[in-house]
């Protein structure tokens, strides 16, 4: 028995010793796009440790955004150390409700640093004037167009549609039928599975209306502008016949585009590299067209710092996040991934400047940021999002009229959000 206690004590001592010498940090991060990104993250971490020998950082790859959230929260609940994580930007309200995160303002982050990021990217991480999420892997929706198809249809291959009207008219010319009268190419495709709400945010924003308020407890699904935005989306298939009726699959849309089955597609910037590598025709990338204004939601992951951490750990975590979001690191990260660089000064670094000159498509997402709106995120976000997704799909498949579908979704959202006002 004595021996056993001895061993246990020895183990404790061994386990405790490094903690005295240096600060250990653990974070979870998701990967939602292609490429060997774990290696990129590991290299970044190694670079930080070189400059900060008193901090050791453990980076744990945790799957997609859902997995990462589940794993991080489960780890916290089980008492395993995790002082920070990259999680979905729209997990903010869920994390607040779990009382899991701290505001960067409250742990000594200085205001000028917080203001160095694009404001559009800060919106999803801010609650009641305090910053909880620092933008890291962020994207927007852009429009890809097939220049060969434009040429073939007698359109200017260098000019993308700038308004909804233009897009509908140009798309009508881009629709191609084969000898048998069957459809060989669609004019435009907007994906409506998986992230229907995200695409729809773009339509609504372009039509002059955001879908929720900044406190995440009020939605505007039944607003007339929102309804007419959904009507336009539905009309692309039902009235103008330039898009397939029913829903369009998110996962296979890129292939549809690169195989020339649609002349225009709306998709995340995160697909830029993949399209660049597989398209056998010249293609352009443009901002989404405007109805009343330009617009696109942002998306992607933010840095959060967890409440369950010591002051020393918080300090080290803050230092790490500040380091990894510095202009140089941000530029490196953007080039490696295709994500938007999260701050203007990153685009001034020689590295990124050079990259954008050679591949101007990479700058479209940045330029669109000034029209961007935060991704849909509210309390009870999963349910609210699903209500909207269902309404969009019901309208697109002709199951319900847009007004009817959106009114039902708004009613559901009201029910869910009332307790949070």
């Amino acid at each position: 028995m004595k021996r056993l206690i001895g061993i246990a004590l020895a183990a404790l001592v061994v386990a405790a010793t490094p903690a005295l010498a240096l600060t250990e940090l653990t974070f979870y991060y998701p990967i939602a796009v292609g490429g060997p990104l774990t290696k990129v993250v590991d290299n970044l971490v190694a670079g930080f440790e070189k400059e900060h020998p008193d901090v050791r950082v453990h980076a744990i790859y945790a799957g997609n955004y859902d997995d990462a959230r589940i794993k991080a929260l489960a780890a916290l609940r089980a008492g395993q150390p995790a002082q920070m994580s990259v999680l979905f930007s729209i997990d903010l309200y869920e994390l607040l409700e779990q009382d899991a995160i701290v505001a960067f303002d409250d742990i000594g982050a200085d205001k000028t640093w917080l203001q160095s990021f694009y404001p559009a990217l800060m919106a999803n991480g801010t609650y009641k004037g305090k910053v909880y999420g620092i933008p890291f892997q962020r994207s927007t929706i852009v429009m890809y167009w097939n220049k060969d198809a434009f040429k073939e249809a007698g359109l200017d291959p260098e000019k993308a549609p700038a308004t909804w009207d233009e897009m509908a008219k140009m798309a009508a010319k881009l629709v191609k039928k084969d000898a048998g009268g069957n459809l060989a190419r669609w004019g435009v495709m907007v994906p409506s599975t998986g992230y229907a709400y995200w695409m729809f945010q773009a339509f609504a924003r372009e039509n002059g209306q955001d879908l929720m308020n900044r406190d995440g407890n009020q939605t505007n699904f039944a607003n007339p502008e929102v309804i007419s935005a959904l009507q336009y989306w539905r009309d692309l298939g039902a009235k103008y016949k330039v898009m397939p009726e029913g829903t369009v699959e998110w996962g296979t849309l890129r292939q549809n585009f690169t195989e020339g089955k649609t002349a225009i597609m709306w998709h995340t910037t995160g697909n830029l590299t993949a399209v660049k590598e597989s398209a056998k025709f010249p293609f352009g990338v443009a901002m989404l067209p405007a109805s009343k204004q330009r617009g696109s939601p942002t998306g992607g992951g933010n840095w959060y710092i967890f409440k369950k951490s010591t002051p020393a750990e918080r300090k080290a975590a803050l230092a790490f996040i500040q380091w990894i979001t510095s202009p140089e690191r941000t530029a490196e990260w953007s080039i490696a991934t295709g994500y938007v660089a999260t701050r203007a000064d990153a685009y001034e670094t020689p590295k990124l400047k050079e990259y954008v000159t050679g591949f101007p498509q990479a700058a479209v997402a940045r330029d669109q940021l000034k029209f961007a709106t935060p991704e849909l995120s509210t309390f009870q976000t999963g349910r609210v999002r699903k209500a909207l997704d269902d309404a969009i799909q019901a309208a697109l498949t002709g199951g319900k009229a847009p007004a009817e579908a959106l009114k039902a979704a708004q009613q559901e959202a009201e029910r869910l959000l009332k307790p949070y006002r």
Partner: protein, 287 residues
């Protein structure tokens, strides 16, 4: 003393069962009587409140109905197909091992891989299905994007996936049947169909029962493909009970409501198993 040994021998299995099967089941049942707690709003007892919410939840009604059609679409066809394939590969035919392997292949593929495969069958225009129908002059179909066809697509894929698995059981059962029975029937003048109907089919009843229970459970258990193919859409047209539970638990974080749905799922499966064993056992011949 002997009892002590008996209990000792049972202990490891009992601990595992209690820890990983019985306790979670009971905990789930208990949780279904509480509201979901967060740091801000602690969990409280709501009695049958979650169950009442269930009745007013149109998505719940729809996923149940969907599950019913999914089960009805997959089970009889995959069982009949499995029996047919087993009878086919049980006979002497050239390349029998290859045919068996071919039938069995879908079973060894993970559901996620199968779903990815079929996603490219169903994709409009560039999908295999559209390319084949295009040869006959048909236009493009949005198979998964249309609420009228999406369930049929899932059913077809599931049958493709499952029939081979069930075939293995039928094949084993057929091989255990003494060949003299067939010979005796031939001498008595029975046609192949008569022999199948009057002898083989009844003798396969234990296998059929086993397969039926499995197929029913699978029709509630198999939702992996939804993650890839439809995410339950469009507008819940392909949503199934278990996937809805997943959404409720991990995307809505409403663990109590998820627990309530889980209790319903458990009760349903338990009832199925009971009915199947009780009703069919009477007609089953066990040797």
């Amino acid at each position: 003393m002997r009892h002590v040994y008996g209990w000792l021998l049972l202990t490891p299995a009992a601990i595992l069962l209690v820890a990983f099967t019985h306790y979670p089941a009971v905990a789930t049942l208990a949780e279904s009587f509480f509201s979901t707690g967060t740091a801000v709003r602690p969990s409280r007892f709501v009695g049958l409140g979650n169950y009442a919410a269930l009745l007013g939840d149109p998505i719940f009604t729809q996923v149940l109905l969907n599950n019913f059609w999914f089960a009805l679409g997959t089970i009889p066809t995959s069982i009949a197909l499995a029996m047919l394939m087993a009878a086919w590969v049980n006979g002497a035919l050239p390349g029998r091992a290859l045919v068996r392997l071919a039938y069995f292949t879908p079973t060894v593929l993970p559901m996620i891989a199968v779903a990815n495969l079929w996603l490219y069958f169903y994709t409009p225009q560039i999908g295999l299905l559209d390319k084949v129908t295009a040869l006959f002059g048909a236009g493009s179909h949005n198979w998964l994007g249309n609420p009228d066809t999406v369930m049929g697509c899932l059913v077809a894929m599931t049958i493709w996936k499952e029939a081979g698995f069930f075939m293995i059981f039928y094949l084993a059962a057929l091989q255990a049947l003494p060949p003299e029975l067939g010979e005796a029937a031939r001498i008595e003048g029975a046609s192949r169909w008569y022999f199948f109907r009057r002898v083989t089919f009844p003798l396969l009843m234990p296998t059929t029962l086993f397969v039926l229970v499995n197929a029913t459970i699978n029709s509630f258990k198999l939702v992996d493909h939804l993650f890839i193919l439809t995410k339950g859409g469009p507008d819940n047209a392909s949503n199934l009970l278990l996937y809805y539970i997943y959404q409720t638990a991990f995307s809505f974080f409403d663990t109590s409501y998820a627990a309530t749905l889980t209790v319903v799922l458990l009760a349903l499966l338990g009832a199925f198993a009971l009915v199947q064993f009780q009703l069919i056992e009477r007609r089953v011949h066990y040797r």
